[in-house]
């Protein structure tokens, strides 16, 4: 009895979702918005950077003054990517940064050559001007590549080792948390998912009210929860596709690593989307028509995702009130979570608070929206 009722309910949800999928398929604008926009935006963020960035001005603060450290300097200078524009003492680096003479500094500590010879790990520091995260990303990626080659050369000389002998430690000035454009891919993911979920669902459901077909649905045995689930499902799938697309393009175009697990990325995307879909649903129940729903959807999805998520402006640098508000913004947790998974290879053991925060938001907003939805008659 209950089994067959559940089955009937699932069939109705399937019918709703199937119909919605046909809408999406037949509307090139929706698909375009959902699948082309991410790619376009990634390239927008990525361009301007790759074309004119070679001979990046670098200062080389050599405290070791050894054969090995000079080899490292040659590796950087001879790559064509960097030009050594000065060799100050470490105390002078700050001034060169502030004066805009260099956007990166390589600091080789005393004992570099000794450590290498002893077979210990030698550490150098790369300091970045992180004010422009896009530039920062390029610098980081290139410095990383050169250091890896140098590391391989050293390892080859001293036979195979388990650990790379050369370790580059990165310090970013001016923008310590939003360290580089590597961090943009997670941010962009949050931004795009939020837009897709909130805007498209708000639009789709407001359209159903406006068209009058919502009343027709209410008059049928399809339950309100079934309507909600059926309508949201296709957009959930679409959003996850977007996430895959952004991560894949990020990896291909920006060399953004995927150090953690892909299923975990999808889990984060799923929970985040649930909250965003709830937000879209809520807007569409409150807004009376598609126009209002679009505007409210765009504002409530985009602004927090850009301003408060840490995508561009580091949360640590925000004034206290904004920092507090940002705790209520799910994109903040997605950005943090994705950064952790992609860049650091973190797992759930580290990132569960982010997941929990997003889940709480999703439950709260979906509950609120469904309650409003139930009370509203066509």
């Amino acid at each position: 009895m209950t089994g067959s009722r559940l089955l009937r309910s699932l069939l109705r949800i399937g019918a709703m979702a199937g119909k919605e999928a046909i809408h999406v398929r037949r509307d090139p604008r929706t698909l375009g918005l959902a699948l082309v926009m991410p790619v376009v935006m990634l390239f927008l963020f990525g361009y301007g950077v790759s074309s004119d960035l070679d001979h990046i001005p670098l200062v080389f603060a050599d405290q070791d003054q050894s054969e090995a450290s000079r080899a490292l300097a040659r590796a950087f200078d001879g790559s064509g990517e960097f030009t050594v524009v000065g060799r100050p003492a470490p105390e002078g680096v700050e001034a060169l940064f502030r004066g805009g003479v260099a956007v990166a500094a390589l600091v080789v500590p005393r004992g570099y050559q000794r450590d290498l010879l002893l077979g210990k790990r030698a550490e150098v520091q790369l300091m970045l001007d992180g004010a422009d995260p896009v530039v920062g990303n390029q610098v980081l990626a290139k410095a990383d590549a050169i250091a890896r080659v140098e590391s391989q050369r050293l390892a080859g000389a001293a036979f195979a080792r388990l650990q790379p002998p050369l370790q580059v430690k990165v310090w970013t000035r001016y923008n310590p948390e939003g360290r580089s454009a590597l961090y943009m891919v997670p941010g962009l993911s949050a931004f795009l998912l939020a837009i897709t979920a909130v805007m498209l669902t708000a639009l789709a459901i407001a359209g159903e009210w406006e068209r009058g077909s919502m009343e027709q649905l209410f008059a049928s045995p399809v339950g309100r929860l079934e309507i909600v689930l059926g309508k949201l499902l296709p957009y959930l799938v679409l959003g996850l596709l977007e996430l895959l697309l952004v991560v894949a393009f990020g990896a291909l175009v920006f060399d953004v690593p995927i150090r953690g697990s892909l299923p975990l990325i999808m889990l984060f995307g799923l929970v985040f989307m649930a909250g965003m879909l709830g937000q879209g649903l809520f807007i569409s129940v409150v807004a009376k028509n598609q126009l209002v729903a679009t505007q409210a959807g765009a504002l409530s999805a985009m602004l927090p995702a850009i301003i408060l998520s840490g995508m561009i402006f580091p949360i640590e640098n925000m004034p206290l009130p904004l920092r507090t508000i940002s705790r209520l913004i799910p994109s903040r947790y997605l950005v943090h979570g994705l950064r952790g998974i992609l860049l650091k290879g973190n797992g759930l053991d580290v990132l569960w608070p982010d997941l929990l925060a997003m889940a709480l938001f999703a439950v709260a907003i979906l509950g609120l929206a469904t309650a409003r939805f139930k009370r509203r008659v066509a």
């Binding site: 069939l11 109705r12 119909k19 037949r26 509307d27 068209r211 008059a219 049928s220």
Partner: protein, 322 residues
């Protein structure tokens, strides 16, 4: 189904409504309305804009909770078992619009699935209905490309997929051309002949003639309820005569105010007269017109239209208001 019908309830009543009321805040949109609709009849619900027709329907289909009174549809109480009601009725809302971006057939398949049909049964049923409403050739067309009349027929088909015993049609022919309206009403009558109860609202008084019985709503109240003929007898007791001939204008004005003559009005090239049926008939009026100077007079009795009824009802209600 019968289990939830109270014992002894009249089984041949598809809809039983008593003192049904709906308030929106201070405003009473439907005010203690009572009526019954028999199984298989076409029941017309007439009223001006804002009279409360749609609100009544929305209560009857379990969409809107009544503020007072009771209504039973297909044996189910609309207040306590709205879901049972929804399963046993078909509904075409006033604002009904199909999914215009979907093909014709997808609309049917979707609404069929919403009502729990599936697989082969659903496909067969939708093909059958497409044929019945004359849209089988257009089943792949995009719904938005259909003309209004065909859309309304498709909407009707969508409401009939699950073979409901009762259908509620809220102004189904609004904004459709006369030919399409006639075709649509042919479908409605066919439906009723097959035993389906049809509850239909309309603005078109000529359409109301097709209904077996008509309820007239004025400001939320049901002020008249009868067959079209019965309504005319009660509300337009005058005999309506149409006179043709020469010199009628002058003769007519002389007749104005004569015993038994209630109204005289020019009507095209002729005259429209309303007379007391107890005192005057066609022959007597023809005679009087001739005596008043008209020539070649012919007088014919015309039947009152529902429009006459409607105007009389509205007049009466207006008089009663303080």
């Amino acid at each position: 189904m019968t289990a939830s019908a109270p014992a002894g309830a009249a089984v041949d009543h598809a809809i039983v409504v008593s003192d049904l009321t709906r308030r929106f805040g201070e405003f009473t949109a439907v005010d203690r309305v009572s009526f019954e609709v028999e199984q298989g009849e076409i029941f017309g619900y007439l009223g001006a804009n804002g009279a409360g027709k749609s609100t009544t329907i929305r209560m009857l289909i379990g969409l809107l909770a009544p503020s007072g009174g009771k209504a039973t549809v297909a044996g189910h109480d609309v207040a306590t078992a709205p879901n049972r009601v929804k399963e046993s009725i078909g509904y075409m809302s006033q604002k009904f619009s199909l999914y215009l971006d979907l093909p014709v057939e997808e609309n049917l398949l979707f609404f069929g699935a919403a009502y729990g049909l599936e697989g082969k049964a659903l496909r067969l049923r939708s093909a059958e209905l497409l044929e019945r409403v004359g849209l089988d050739a257009q089943h792949e067309a995009t719904t938005g490309d259909l003309p209004g009349g065909q859309r309304q027929r498709l909407a009707l088909a969508c409401a009939l997929l699950h073979r409901p015993g009762i259908v509620f049609l809220d102004e189904p022919t609004a904004g459709v051309d006369p030919v399409a309206r006639r075709a649509f009403w042919e479908l409605i009558r066919e439906l009723a002949r097959g035993g389906t109860t049809v509850f239909v609202t309309t603005h078109y008084l000529d359409e109301a003639e097709y209904c077996r019985r008509i309820g007239l709503m004025v400001d939320g109240k049901l002020v008249a309820l009868d067959t079209p003929a019965g309504l005319k007898r009660t509300w337009v007791p005058d005999r309506v005569l149409v006179a043709r001939g020469r010199g009628l204008a002058a003769a007519g004005s002389r007749l104005q105010g004569a015993a038994g003559v209630r109204a005289v009005a020019p009507f095209g090239a002729g005259l429209h007269l309303r007379v007391d049926p107890a005192r005057l008939d066609g022959a007597a009026v023809a005679q009087a017109l001739r005596e008043a100077g008209a020539e070649a007079v012919e007088v014919e009795e015309a039947s009152p239209s529902l429009e006459d009824v409607f105007l009389a009802v509205v007049d009466r209600s207006a008089e009663r208001r303080p």
